[in-house]
């Protein structure tokens, strides 16, 4: 009796696991199959814009919108793939020792608006995928600009147990209900209506995937003076034990 039940349960688990695998594979396949038609749409528009010197402004603008929409769609595909890869445990990170201050400064340099930066004077080295993390900080800056307030800050806090990057704005913030849904795919808060044409609805899920792949976490908090804080916490990798070598000098 017990044996029969156990085997039934095992079968059920296997079926569920297979379903999950299929779902992830499907997402990767869809993303991949979309790239060729997108390449054609983008390429046709791009080549015509480059070679058609006599295009009227209307035609030229129309082609540019086609090209830009194809790019935007491709960005969504990229974001979906990042999330799908993370969920399938296949998001590869290219981790190297990097000063987090540099990551923050680089992200801010790519961001067109003013951003206040608060970083410690000392280097904050971390074993991270620089490109992915920079992408995350930039995505948070863009979210702050799109949905938040005009004053945007990035704060780096190098604690003993973790390194914490906070991106905050002085906008309307998010309600508790919105905070709990903000990491869902394609969720948009109430203040996003009508102005989200360039977003993918995948900003926070992508940031979450990248940060969690670094064994870190993402939290949304209210800023005391109003506005939203997005807090990325990267735990410090357990330090290699310090041992004394024969000469009594300390080496890692």
């Amino acid at each position: 009796m017990v044996a029969a039940r156990t085997s039934e349960l095992q079968q059920l688990i296997r079926r569920l696991e297979r379903g999950e695998e299929n779902r992830k594979q499907l997402m990767a396949d869809i993303s991949h199959e979309l790239r060729t038609p997108l390449a054609i749409i983008l390429g046709e528009a791009d080549v015509t814009l480059r070679t058609g010197g006599t295009l009227g402004d209307d035609v030229s603008d129309s082609l540019a919108r086609i090209r830009d929409s194809a790019k935007h769609t491709n960005q969504i595909v990229d974001d979906m793939l990042t999330v799908a890869r993370y969920e399938a445990g296949q998001l590869r990170l290219d981790r190297k020792q990097t000063d987090l201050r540099k990551v923050i400064h680089d992200a801010v340099a790519m961001f067109p608006g003013p951003v206040q930066i608060a970083c410690p004077d000392a280097p904050a080295p971390a074993l991270i995928d620089e490109v992915r993390l920079r992408q995350s900080v930039l995505a948070l800056l863009q979210n702050a600009r799109r949905y938040g307030g005009p004053t945007i800050s990035v704060i780096l806090d190098d604690r003993t147990d973790a390194q914490v990057i906070t991106v905050e704005d002085d906008g309307p913030g998010l309600s508790a209900a919105e905070k709990s849904q903000a990491f869902d795919r394609f969720f948009r808060g109430s203040n996003a209506s009508g102005q989200g044409s360039e977003g993918s609805g995948l900003g926070l899920p992508v940031v979450k995937s990248i940060v969690e792949a670094h064994a870190g976490s993402v939290a949304l908090q209210d800023r005391a003076e109003g506005g939203l804080q997005v807090v990325l916490t990267l735990p410090k990798v357990p330090r290699v034990k310090i041992v004394a070598d024969i000469d009594g000098r300390k080496t890692a």
Partner: protein
Amino acid sequence: MNILLVEDEVRVADFIRRGLAADGWSVDHVSTGEDALEQATSNGYDVILLDLMLPGIQGKDVCRKLRARSTKTPILMLTALDSPEEKVEGLKVGADDYLPKPFDFDELVARIEALHRRATGYAADATETHLTSGALSFDRASLQVQVHGTEVQLSKKERDLLLLFMTNSGRVLSRERILNAVWGLNEDPLTNVVDVYVGRLRRKIGSEGKRIVTLRNVGYRMN
């Protein structure tokens, strides 16, 4: 320049051929790995554009076989598979560069030119330490920029941007191409950072700023 395009998707091959022909390059198109091997060995091409997913012999095997026959023609792989492992794998089998689909056409042109320059050892631009263009002068060694003999203070990014314009004078540069060359970004971060910096650069170089023209929906060009 003679280019061999190996691509089984006709509609992709079509726009690539038209776009490259408009730059005055001649393009031969084949759609299978077998044809690619035959064409590549019997004709001298400057650059081979190779799609990875082909019917019959796969792109990677074409690449491997060409290298085994000691064909030295630079190979640029094009593919809709963009995982980092694919890229590493492609370069391992002998490709020289890798461009994921969809791509910005300007980027494709820039990559082809870079491969060709590398293969022919022509790098005059890179060896010149002092560049001049109109009333602008740029010293690569001291990083000094002068307009009409007066020094202008530029940030690093502004300098990189000016250098890109000066070494590509008379050519159209798309925003993506600039983003890639100056910020090292392969993807569009959906910002107008390029426009902001071009605006700043124009103001800082005064009367010479007018030489950087905006081409509607295409990009910028320094005349």
